[in-house]
Amino acid sequence: MEIIVNGKRERLEESMSILQYLSAKGLSPERVVVEYNYAVVKKEDLGNIILKENDQLEVLRFVGGG
């Protein structure tokens, strides 16, 4: 199946939760903010949401800014 992450289509070979997706990318959930289909996901829910075809994920973090 394919999902859209940060605006880019990406193929997932197996079904997984958002938490598993982040781990596979080497990202600690403590350091990022995730929006799933335009709704912010609470950290405790990251493991409960299983990604489906055409889901949209935004994975964000804080950077320097004024």
């Binding site: 940060n6 605006g7 350091r31 935004e58 964000l60 973090r61 320097g64």
Partner: protein, 255 residues
């Protein structure tokens, strides 16, 4: 002398807010923030680059600082609201600097969209600090919309050109019963001091510190300038006059 001002129920002692963009390294940024004595520090939210490991800026901001995420990248009120909600969900408090910009040349804020975003976010319990183009009526609307402070620009972002909008900022300070925090354009400590002498509650400085030859020393210079300007404001500057008035007594000369 106890001289604080309050935003979002928090009494702030330092009147210098600093931004975290454009520093040459995280380490220099940390040292500059410490040297500035700032209590409020701005950050931005961006998409992660999944192909490269990047360090998290939050790890380099002193823990006792209040984080002020901005909504940079937002072109409409709707986008600013979305970014604000994400920032709050990230667990970094409920302060938000609204920045709605669609002008790429001068990066001037869209006052109309900024008012709309302020209204929505203030209702949702955010402590809203809107970046705005200094205009009295807009500042009044922002106040009605529930802003916790108003942040007029001195000059376009990153230009280091100083208080080009000085007269309009003076009017905001005079008329608006909220802290006025001069944001953007301040390039030198003397300009920060000038804003404080006029009665600004605080100033926000990023580029002038981050791009200085020695950012850490410049951060300290801004801290001192902001303190000096504030002290001068409280002290009540003497009147200006056209003609000279001797400072030394004019009597008791030699014959």
């Amino acid at each position: 002398m106890k001289d604080t001002f309050t935003i979002g129920g928090i009494a702030l002692k330092s009147r210098l807010f600093v931004g975290t963009g454009k520093f040459s390294s995280h380490q220099i940024m940390t040292e500059a923030i410490e040297a500035s004595n700032a209590q409020v520090v701005t950050v931005a939210l961006r998409r992660i680059d999944l192909d490269s490991a990047e360090e998290n800026v939050l790890n380099f901001i002193p823990k006792n600082c209040i984080l002020l995420p901005n909504t940079s990248g937002a072109r409409t009120a709707e986008e600013a609201v979305r970014i604000a909600r994400i920032a709050r969900a990230a667990g970094c408090g409920n302060w938000i600097k609204i920045e709605v910009i669609s002008d790429h040349k001068y990066l001037l804020p869209d006052n109309y969209e900024t008012i709309k975003a302020t209204e929505i976010l203030a209702k949702e319990g955010f402590v809203v600090l809107p970046y705005m183009n200094p205009d009295l009526m807009v500042a009044k609307r922002l106040q009605e919309a529930g802003a916790a402070a108003v942040m007029p620009l001195g000059a376009p972002i990153g230009t280091n050109r100083g208080l080009k909008t000085k007269e309009m900022i003076r009017i905001l300070i005079d008329e608006i019963n909220l802290p006025i925090i001069v944001d953007a354009g301040i390039g030198k400590p003397s300009e920060a001091a000038e804003a404080m002498e006029m009665g600004a509650a605080a100033v926000l400085v990023n580029t002038a510190i981050a791009t200085a030859g020695d950012p850490v020393a410049m951060a300290r210079a801004f801290d001192l300038a902001v303190q000096a300007g504030r002290m001068a404001h409280i002290s009540g500057p003497g009147a200006t006059r056209l003609y000279a008035e001797a400072s030394s007594p004019l009597t008791g000369f030699l014959e």
